[in-house]
Amino acid sequence: MADTAVLAAQAAASADKARPGDAALAARLDVLTLPEGGFTRAAREDAAQRLQAMGLPGPRDEYWRYTDPALFNAARPEAAEIAGDSSTLFTEIERLNLVFVDGRFDAAASDKLEGEGVEIENLASAEGRADHWAAGLYGRLEAAGQQPVKRPFAVLNTLTASDGVLIRVTGRIGRPVHITYHRSAVDADVSLHHVVKLEEGAELTLLETGAIGARSNVVLEVEVGKGARFHHVSAKRANDPKLGIGHIFARVESEALFKSFALTVNGRMMRNEAVIDIAGDDAIAHIAAAVLGDGDTGRFHHDDTVFIIHGAERCESRQVFKKVLKNSAEGVFQGKILVKPGAQKTDGYQISQGLLLDEGSQFLAKPELEIYADDVKCSHGSTTGALDETALFYLRSRGVPKERAIVLLVLSFLADALEEIEDERLRDDILGRLEDWLTQRAGNQGKA
């Protein structure tokens, strides 16, 4: 795997064809050091080939129409201050803690990696083995998710990931696995790759909180086996001025359930891509996000790009994306439901809503349907607008102060997305945090 220098040279050489981002790619590969051997070797080599062929996205790339990839392309991230750690989410819940600092697993700070019905390892320490259950998944679900749209940063991640968790679940795990990220260096460029496999009938809840790095690139590959249930709740650290790109590649087998929810409160620039392949009959996949973006501390740009593939019969998918935007914040949603030929009785639903709290903020949406089967029910809705003045007036006429009324209306706007978290303890925890945060914010602004 030491041929990255060759790769960098090739990328530089093909610059006469002047692909955007080629120079940046060459520069990044040039400084790369990769682990030798191990079970990920084949996948990493394959990723090197694929990345070479596709290059990094340019500003004219249709899939990057609303988000400028330049900052993700850059050879190095800019230094970003570390926000104070106020992440106390889920601490009341009994869980298995895994801690990553600047993209490296911190065994001392983590719980013992054991539990009934679950195997947990971190990628960096397991990778040396030639034989591993994750060999069939690492970089494989990612590669399968490259059609029909290229996702070069996911390929880059497969190629360069320094660590991650490998979780194989055989039973129903009541205790959630909680990954907490910490930043200690102001300019850490972090690449993490997680692989989760749920065997038939298994159940797992995966939680993610904290700040990963000044720039982060995360891939989560999930295989949800027959009848298995996977719950995912992620809430990255509020106000951290980081730059992040996240990917979920999921394959959902028959009668299985996949649910993912992400909360974002401020930050700088984030793009979350998800490719969910519903491959077995009677499966369910839901993905939701609640975003609060305030551009007053600098630029805020948040992009959710979702691709749901229905390849089997009688499946249900649901996408719920809500973004509250303020002070020139930009919210993007690109969502697609693809129903393959023969995926009859599909029920696909997608809603994307932008709430613009002031002039200057933007919500840009591209909700797509691509349908090749006739006996299906697919719909999408997208709305953008300001706070409902009538509702605000109603609350104020009942004696609710304006700041409090706005908090209530924003929370009710986000409610549909939060509903997607099945576990009430998790939902209440997030709701509480959100309310605190909004109230605090409103209070601050009241004083100013």
Binding site: L356, E359, G360, Q362, L369, I371, A373, V376, S379, T384
Partner: protein, 529 residues
């Protein structure tokens, strides 16, 4: 629901689809039962066939095959255009050579050889403009008669005096008939002139009203707008021109009928409509072409300028030959249509019924520049057999308090692919604007596809944008209900589909609504069974 393959019910009794000539022969072969009139039998037999698929054998004059500067100059010369117009075309042509064909649409068709087309074809008899009915080639008249344009209008079409005596109620629609590359004639010109309305072919307008053409041509769709519009700017041969002066409500509906007849010939028409302050005009467009094995190119541009308080209603029933059941032949339809609501309270309404063409690439758009201007888009797109349609609209809100509404109904059957592609853009300055979009798709059969690709860009907070889309199949309960009442399955589907399209059909002018309704039924013939 089972998919019908070629040779099934769509051809009624296994006969090939032939159209008019066939009907006459068949009339003799079939015994007509008592109480059923001949007309009914013929109508029924015409169902399920592309009834405009015949061609007119007429001596044509072609420009040499291919495109180069000489061809552009030749077209300009044939139209007796002034120097500035020739230069304008050449400028477009030079630009076009640097451009590449857009590939982003969800359309799949073989590479078009732009050098293997005729860019100019006109009936030889049109060389000298006929002055009386006797001078017009009877075959040309017969063509329009067959297409259903009443005889009295044809007399006027041929420029005959004495058509004055035509009954008043039959004279509601003025027609500009375009045959391949030339305008054959325009009816009711004198009457329109009395109201101050100019309605003529664009080649005539370039000669007679250069000041208007120079001011507005290319001001909505610039020469360099896109690959197909630029090609059109270089080689457009004819089309219609409308100018409605301030405060005038155009006394009748205006209409253009486009007919492609010649083989291997591209049609490139250009329409320019100007509605001056406070005026109103309703404009209809119809199109047909003969059945041929080889696909034909059609790249049109329509520009509409709407000034203060004016209103334009533009309706299209596009029924170009869609290709046969195997997807052979048909028209490749690449059209740029755009309206510019340039001043306050201008209003434009696009209504389209797209049933024909093998390939449709068409996005009638509204630029809502004037404050409180309004744009509306109503569309039915039906794709059957191997047709592919990628169509929709753009609503670009630039002015304050602007409003737009989009209602799109897409129907796919057979092996067809039908895509709605649209943009709603709220500029930061377009405060207090509104958009409502509804696009519904209906799938008939499990081999077709229906897709929705909307772009929604909201850049101010006081505007409200709503978008809804659904995709479903023909409801089994509704079908069951109809069948229980004695309808056969095809009739039942046609009825349900007409109900699905109702909102759009209602937006069409009367004359078109009737035609469109039966077209919906015809286009879906053979898709169920």
């Amino acid at each position: 629901m089972r998919l019908m393959t070629a040779g099934g019910k769509g051809m009624i009794g296994g006969r090939p689809r032939e159209g008019f000539e066939m009907t006459e022969q068949i009339g003799d072969a079939i015994e007509i039962r008592e109480g059923v009139d001949r007309e009914t039998v013929e109508t029924v037999q015409n169902m399920g066939s592309y009834k405009y698929g015949w061609d007119t054998e007429i001596e044509m004059e072609y420009a040499p095959k291919g495109i180069n500067e000489d061809i552009v100059r030749l077209i300009s010369k044939k139209n007796e255009e002034p120097e500035w117009m020739t230069e304008w075309r050449l400028q477009a042509f030079r630009r076009w050579q640097t451009m590449t064909e857009p590939k982003w649409a969800m359309l799949n068709y073989p590479e078009i050889d732009y050098q293997d087309q005729y860019y100019y074809a006109r009936p030889k008899s049109m060389e000298v403009k006929p002055r009386s009915l006797d001078e017009v080639d009877p075959k040309l008249l017969a063509t329009y008669e067959k297409l259903g344009i009443p005889l009295k209008e044809q007399m006027i079409l041929a420029g005959i005096e004495g058509a004055e005596g035509a009954p008043a109620e039959a004279r509601q629609v003025a027609v500009d008939a375009v045959f391949d590359s030339v305008s054959v004639g325009t009816t009711f010109k004198d009457e329109l002139a009395k109201a101050g309305v100019i309605f003529c072919s664009i080649s005539e307008a370039i000669r007679e009203h250069p000041e208007l053409v120079r001011k507005y041509l290319g001001s909505v769709v610039p020469q360099s707008d896109n690959f197909f519009a630029t090609l059109n700017s270089a080689v457009f041969s004819d089309g219609s021109f409308v100018y409605v002066p301030p405060g005038v409500r155009c006394p009748m509906e205006l209409s253009t009928y486009f007919r492609i007849n010649a083989e291997n010939t591209g049609q490139f028409e250009r329409t320019l409509i100007i509605a001056d302050k406070g005026s109103y005009v309703s404009y209809l467009e119809g199109c047909t072409a003969p059945k041929r094995d080889v696909a034909q190119l059609h790249a049109a541009v329509v520009e509409i300028v709407v000034l203060e308080d004016a209103e334009v209603k533009y309706s299209t029933v596009q029924n170009w030959f869609p290709g046969d059941e195997e997807g052979k032949g048909g028209i490749y339809n690449f059209v740029t249509k755009r309206a510019d609501c340039r001043e306050a309270r201008a209003k434009v309404m696009w209504t389209q019924v797209e049933t024909g063409s093998a390939i449709t690439w068409k996005y009638p758009s509204c630029i809502l520049r004037g404050e409180e201007s309004q744009g509306e888009f109503y569309s039915i797109a039906i794709a059957n057999n191997h047709q592919q349609a990628d169509t929709g609209t753009k609503m670009i809100h630039l002015g304050k308090n602007t409003r737009s509404r989009i209602v799109s109904k897409g129907i796919s059957a057979g092996h067809a692919q039908n895509t709605y592609r649209g943009l709603v853009s709220m500029h930061p300055r377009a405060t207090n604007s509104r958009n409502y979009t509804q696009c519904d798709s209906l799938l008939i059969g499990d081999k077709c596809g229906a897709h929705t690709v909307p772009y929604i860009e909201v850049k101010n907070t006081s505007s409200r944008v709503e978008h809804e889309a659904t995709t479903s199949k023909v409801d089994d309960d509704q079908l069951f209900y109809c069948r229980q009442r004695g309808m056969d399955e095809e009739e039942a589907v046609a009825l349900v589909v007409n109900g699905f399209c109702r909102e759009v059909l209602q937006a069409l002018p009367m004359e078109f609504a009737m035609e469109a309704q039966s077209l919906v039924a015809i286009s879906l013939e053979g898709s169920v069974g």
